[in-house]
Every structure is written in structure tokens, then in C-alpha cells.
Symmetry: C2
């Protein structure tokens, strides 16, 4: 396993990082080459990628290029989808897509004050989220649903390798989606696919500043990156790619499955 540490030295001897957006990316459609589009856009804004840079990419850009989408007109709902759709007042065809993307439904509810209810599902990839991450926002036309990529780690690795080859350097890449959370209002971006960056930075066995062991500290590095990307990745601005520069991280073979809490350890399913 290749292990390389990246650390940017700043002019002020201070620990710092920058995050910037890749501007003027096109609307993505199936078959488009996302890597080439990122390279073109970066070149147009006078930027290139440097050793240790990490890209965070909103999954919709990846999903659209890969054609990970459904047209509602092509979907025939099963009886199970029809029943669930009635209970939450959703289009049965959308519920059918949610069921196809899910391994299990955890909760579904429609409150009297809601027009459309919510389905909390376990996605086939293990993520627990609303509507199995099936989304119609930012689809390029009505009646089209976007799903997660089929294999986000593979998408991340292919894209990262393409960019590493072009820039002759070593990079990391995270694919993100926007999830709600139990207990807390609002959404944050989380990682749904990774390449080269640690999913979790395990600090088991290290000591705190006073020498006492930090037993259970394991920062979810990929989720920290995803959440940070949301600070500039406004939904209405067609800005799905962020570059992080200056972070200290160790290159490794990582998998997004490392962030899924095993069912037997989970107290809230």
C-alpha cells in the first residue's frame, strides 16, 4: 500500500488550507467526460491540480455523466410501491425507483401538514438517507430522477486516476451527496465515494495534548471534506466541483464502506 503524506507549508508557518470552486462547468448529460470537463474548466480559470489536492464532487455530476437516472415514464410501479406511495403521497413510479435503490425501508411517514411524506431507506450501498438518495432537484428536465452512481468508489478512482495522469501528480477525490440527519435540522454534504483519501482518520492509540490516550477519536475525514465543500457549493450555482489545497493527509486504498456503521453496532435502526 502506497503511503505518502502531503503537507503544504504556508508563508506564515501557519496551518492553513484553501478551497476553491471549479467555475463554468457545463450542464452534464449522459456520456459526457467529467474528467475532461474539469480539466478544461480549470485551465480556463488559470488553475491546475497540485500534489496533495483533494477534489470533492457532488454526485449528481457523476450520476448524470454515467446515466444513473430514471425517466418516470419508463418506470412501472410494483404493488409494494403503489401501497407505500399511497401512504406517503408520492408518485408510485418515484417510490418504485426508491425501492429499487434500497435494501430496506427503515421509516416512512406523512404528517397532516405535509404534502408529500418521507421515506427513510437503507440504500443498497449501505447509506441510510431520505428516499434512498433518489432526487429530482437538478435533474435537467421534469420527470427525470437522479440516483447515486452504481459504484461510487469505482467512479471516484477512475476519475482520480484520469486527473492524476493528466497532471502527473497524486490527488485524492471524494464524491458527495446532501443528507439530512436525525436529531439536527438542515442538511450537510457527506461522502458517498472515495479515492485515495482516508475515509476515517483513525486516532486510536494516539495521545491527546496531555499524553492521555484518545481512545475513540476517529475523525470522519471524507465527511469533513464533503461537509466543507457545502460552504461554497450552493445548489443554485452549478458548482459541483471543489478543490482543497494544503491539507495534511496520507494516501491509502480506501473504501466508502468503511464509513457504514455495522448494523449490529447501530443503536438507531
Amino acid at each position: 500500500m502506497s503511503e505518502l503524506a502531503y503537507l503544504e507549508e504556508s508563508a506564515f508557518q501557519t496551518r492553513s488550507m484553501t478551497m476553491f470552486a471549479v467555475n463554468n462547468l457545463p450542464d452534464f448529460t449522459p456520456g459526457m467526460a467529467l474528467g475532461a470537463e474539469i480539466i478544461n474548466a480549470l485551465t480556463a480559470q488559470g488553475e491546475s491540480l497540485q500534489r496533495g489536492d483533494i477534489l470533492v464532487i457532488a454526485h449528481k455530476a457523476v450520476s448524470k455523466c454515467e446515466g444513473a437516472m430514471y425517466d418516470l415514464d419508463d418506470v412501472t410501479p410494483t404493488d409494494e410501491a403503489m401501497t407505500l406511495a399511497r401512504e406517503v403521497n408520492k408518485d408510485p413510479r418515484k417510490v418504485e425507483v426508491i425501492l429499487r435503490q434500497s435494501s430496506r425501508i427503515l421509516r416512512h411517514i406523512k404528517r397532516p401538514n405535509q404534502d408529500e411524506g418521507i421515506i427513510i431507506a437503507e440504500h443498497k450501498l449501505g447509506f441510510i438517507c431520505a428516499n434512498a438518495a433518489v432526487d429530482e432537484s437538478n435533474a435537467d428536465r421534469p420527470g427525470r430522477l437522479i440516483t447515486l452512481p452504481d459504484d461510487p468508489d469505482n467512479s471516484a478512482q477512475q476519475l482520480c486516476t484520469e486527473l492524476e495522469d493528466y497532471y502527473h501528480t497524486e490527488l485524492g477525490l471524494v464524491i458527495s451527496d446532501t443528507f439530512g440527519r436525525p436529531w439536527r435540522m438542515g442538511q450537510t454534504n457527506v461522502a458517498i465515494g472515495v479515492a485515495n483519501v482516508p475515509t476515517i482518520k483513525t486516532l486510536f492509540g494516539e495521545n491527546d495534548a496531555w499524553g492521555r490516550p484518545l481512545k475513540v477519536t476517529a475523525p470522519a475525514f471524507a465527511d469533513e471534506l464533503a461537509a466543507a465543500s457545502g460552504l461554497l457549493m450552493d445548489k443554485d450555482a452549478k458548482c459541483p466541483v471543489m478543490i482543497f489545497r494544503g491539507l495534511d493527509w496520507t494516501r491509502q486504498h480506501s473504501h466508502i464502506s468503511q464509513i457504514i456503521r455495522p448494523k449490529q453496532e447501530d443503536l438507531f435502526r
Copy 2:
């Protein structure tokens, strides 16, 4: 309500932000002036604060200065604490402090392979987290437990006002803690107190890039900031204060209670 928008123009006409650490802060003890220490440290590293900067501060720095701590030797556990402590194999005095900080215990479990179990509690302030955010890591000596500040919004506002007065400018401030999550491994920093920055950036009613309404998008801005701070705020490096520069945000009167999901809306309690 004062509403001011901040947006840094970068040299590349690109959307970007920087985050940097305040270096060489001292070990904090009760009665120390956190604001003055931040100013001194920034001055020593040739930095000052600018209009629109946002500080994220790990709560332990605030809690220590405010004396939000317990010495185990001063704590007498109740019968309830003794019983719960036996079930999870924790020091009954620590469990007593957890109970004092909590309004309710949601789950407690000790698995056969665990030395010490876990208590998921609803903190008096509404946060749901492990051990009611009571922590012995980074306490300055064994037998001392650190709790959340009594009123984190008030702590954030006082500190922010002190820094605004000194630098004659407008700032935002978030106090953070490190929480685990259901369903996902690892921890991220979340906001537990805010001053001036939006807790949630409500995008209800706005349109996506294709003109369709974004019905339910409400980025948890304060949590995005907190999570991003973790990218540089390693636990072992005495680096509890991060500065964000270049973000677009609107000054407002905000409260951390805005991020607590109302119990009647929560599907996972």
C-alpha cells in the same frame, strides 16, 4: 435585524475560501481570557481579523476558561447513577455528571467486547450525543471532566463582540464539539453555539439551476463550518481555534436551538 452580506473577491474571480489555525495558544485554565489570548496569538503570527471572518472554536477552550468542569473527587453519585454505571461499567461519578448534564437518556449499552459502554443522552441544551458531551480527553489532569459551556450562544456572542470591538469589524463565531453519528462511523465536529452566522441557510423557495424549486434544501451552515474546522483541528495539536476567510454569509441573530430537530418531527428517538 442587521443583515450584511460578506463576499471576498479573489484574484482569480473564483469562489474560494481559506481556513487557518490560530497557533501557539496556551493551555486554558479557569478564569483565563480566551478573547485576549486569541488576539495575542493572532498578533504573534502576523494576522488580524477582517470583515466577514468566521471563527470556529472547540468548546473545550471555552469550557476550561469558564470553569465548566467537574472534579470526580467532588461528585457524589445518586442511586440512579450507581445503577446505570454498573450497566455500562463506567465510574459512577462520571455517570452522575452525565445525568446532571442530561434531560433524558435515550440508549445505553455495553457490549461483551467493550471495556466501557456508551450512554446516548439528550443534553439539557437539546443535543443528542454520547455521554451528554462529558469528556475527559484534553482535561488538564486526570479525574477532571469537561462539560459543554452553560450557555454556548452567550459565550459565542460575548467572545465575538469582544473580538469585533478590538478589530473594529464584523465577525461570526461558532463553538464546536466532536460528535459521533448514528449509521456512520467516525466523528465530525458540529456546532453547539453560534454568534451572528446563520445556523441553517434556508433555501426554501429558491430555485435550482434549472428553475425548479428547491423545496427542502437548508444547508446546516454552522455544522458545515464546524465539520470543516476538523480538517485542521487535530486533537493532539492544541489547536482549538480556526479562522474562515472568504465565505459568503449574511449576518443575523441566530441561536443554536434552531439546529435542534423538534422531538415531534424526529423519527429516531
